[in-house]
Symmetry: C2
Subunit: 308 residues, 2 copies
């Protein structure tokens, strides 16, 4: 009972770690996706069990060696999600984790991976977007986390889609000329913009691949492309709006607190710089921080806290 399990379960892969009492890493395992909205409950349970079994087996541990497990999973957004996923977790491995497992949202482990205090904000921007705050009063709030079509306006997908739409507007002359047209067509090995339809409209819309175009927007921005600059400014404005919204909901506005920036879009320093300027207007005493550890590790440390 001296070890702690943390899971970071996403829509494309799952990471699992086991740590000891000194928070030292024992094993690190990668497995299949666990967003039950996409893969269903059965596949989610199977993939979670596989990661846990693999981790135990690699460490040469039995179930009893684990004092507590925290599973941070994507797609845990509504009350219905909470009920379904809690039940799923209690039944994992024939119920042998019962009473020593807790399911949290992937955004909560992202929070724990970056923000030092009990209160603060985490802003996620990768393929999707999310903004989560905990107030000093214990109140929590979310903004902007509704998936690629309904929300996620501050995400890599939103930036990539905006770029594709700008290319079509350039092509048929509804919009300004932009070097994004050349950059994107070259990147996708296409000759003309009207071939982009074939690339986009597939059985399953290539959400991740569209988000993967984001670096081209930053490239165009650095080349002073006006269309790219507008797209990046819009992205940062949406991020700022999400922060402003959760700051108000959790009464953090005049507090000193940390805003953790998590996700691939923050590899781009330009975004951090622009966001830092904007944040001053909505949370003057806030301070931007970056992740200190992998989310799975943060989940394992949460498990240790739960066990104590």
């Amino acid at each position: 009972m001296n070890y702690f399990l943390g899971i970071d379960g996403g829509a494309s892969k799952t990471e699992g770690v086991i740590i000891d009492k000194q928070e030292k890493l024992v094993v690190h395992i990668i497995g299949g996706p666990v967003n039950y909205h996409q893969g269903g409950e059965e596949q989610t349970a199977q993939n979670l069990e596989k990661v846990i079994k693999d981790a135990l087996s690699q460490a040469n541990f039995k179930m009893d060696d684990i004092a507590f497990a925290v599973l941070g999973v994507a797609g845990r957004d509504t009350k219905e999600d909470e009920i379904i996923l809690d039940k799923l977790a209690q039944n994992l491995l024939d119920g042998s984790f019962k009473n020593k497992v807790k399911v949290v949202s992937d955004v909560e482990i992202a929070f724990a991976s970056s923000v030092t205090c009990d209160y603060g904000i985490v802003l996620i921007s990768g393929t999707g977007a999310n903004c989560f705050a905990k107030g000093k009063n214990g109140k929590v709030a979310w903004a902007g986390n509704w998936g690629w079509l309904l929300g996620d306006q501050g995400s890599g997908f939103a930036l990539g889609l905006g770029a594709l739409q700008a290319v079509m507007r350039d092509f048929d002359s509804r919009g300004e000329k932009t070097i994004l047209s050349e950059l994107i067509l070259n990147n996708l090995h296409l000759d003309r913009a009207d071939q982009l339809g074939h690339w986009v409209y597939r059985k399953e819309i290539p959400v991740k691949e569209i988000a993967g175009l984001a670096p081209l927007v930053f490239e165009a921005h650095k080349k002073q492309d006006k269309v790219a600059q507008d797209l990046v400014n819009k992205l940062v404005a949406e991020m700022t709006l999400s922060i402003k919204t959760v700051v108000a909901k959790t009464s953090l506005v005049s507090e000193e607190f940390e805003i953790g920036l998590v996700g691939g879009i923050f590899k781009e320093e330009l975004v951090i710089k622009l966001l830092e300027q904007k944040i001053k207007q909505v949370a003057p005493k806030a301070r931007i921080v970056l992740p200190k550890m992998e989310p799975a590790m943060a989940a394992a440390i949460l498990a240790k806290k739960e066990a104590l």
Copy 2:
């Protein structure tokens, strides 16, 4: 050889008509969809053959009774589409239509169904959007026809999606309060906005159903809802931009010409009224007209012209 066949082939259904020399309707048949981007070439050919055979059989005609056929089909947008669909048409019914069949875009038959002259503009707004112009000089131009994700900003889908995004912004307080939230949740029999994700993210995104929310936006507009008013103004601005773009490309700006409005969104008089005001700025002598006949009938009349 005294009859003419017209086909209006769409992504959800196909209509076929046969007319006589006096342009009198002989038969009217409805069949399956023919957008080959969605159903593939084989299914498209099969559905076209079925509609043609059914029309001939119902009229008690042989192939020889048809002097010419015009097939107006959705998804004929690029050079590649033209080549594939022309070949497909020549091979229909074991090649018995060879040299007496022409494939055109569905937008061209929409043009013919509404615009009286050889030149002018047709603006389509249903689930999707398109804008097509023919200049006095014979030049043609398109704008805005890139499907629900890349383009179609002046469409029912764009309006419906904008409404859903506004509901999510209302729900998490990023946006203004709007009566669209109540109207849409009631319409879809949902209790809370965070249940909309389940409704939207399906194996196949419900593009038509999202477009089907457009009337609720008009309802909210009439109740002076600010968010709905902004959405409708944006829709009309996108329509106007498409018209402005094709007007410039076909040198129609100072001409007197007709703009045909085709598609479900124009059932709403509010849109026509707002658009009429805006069009004055980009084509001062243009005149709005509505369809005079079904698109399949317009295709049959084009077939008669081709045969003469």
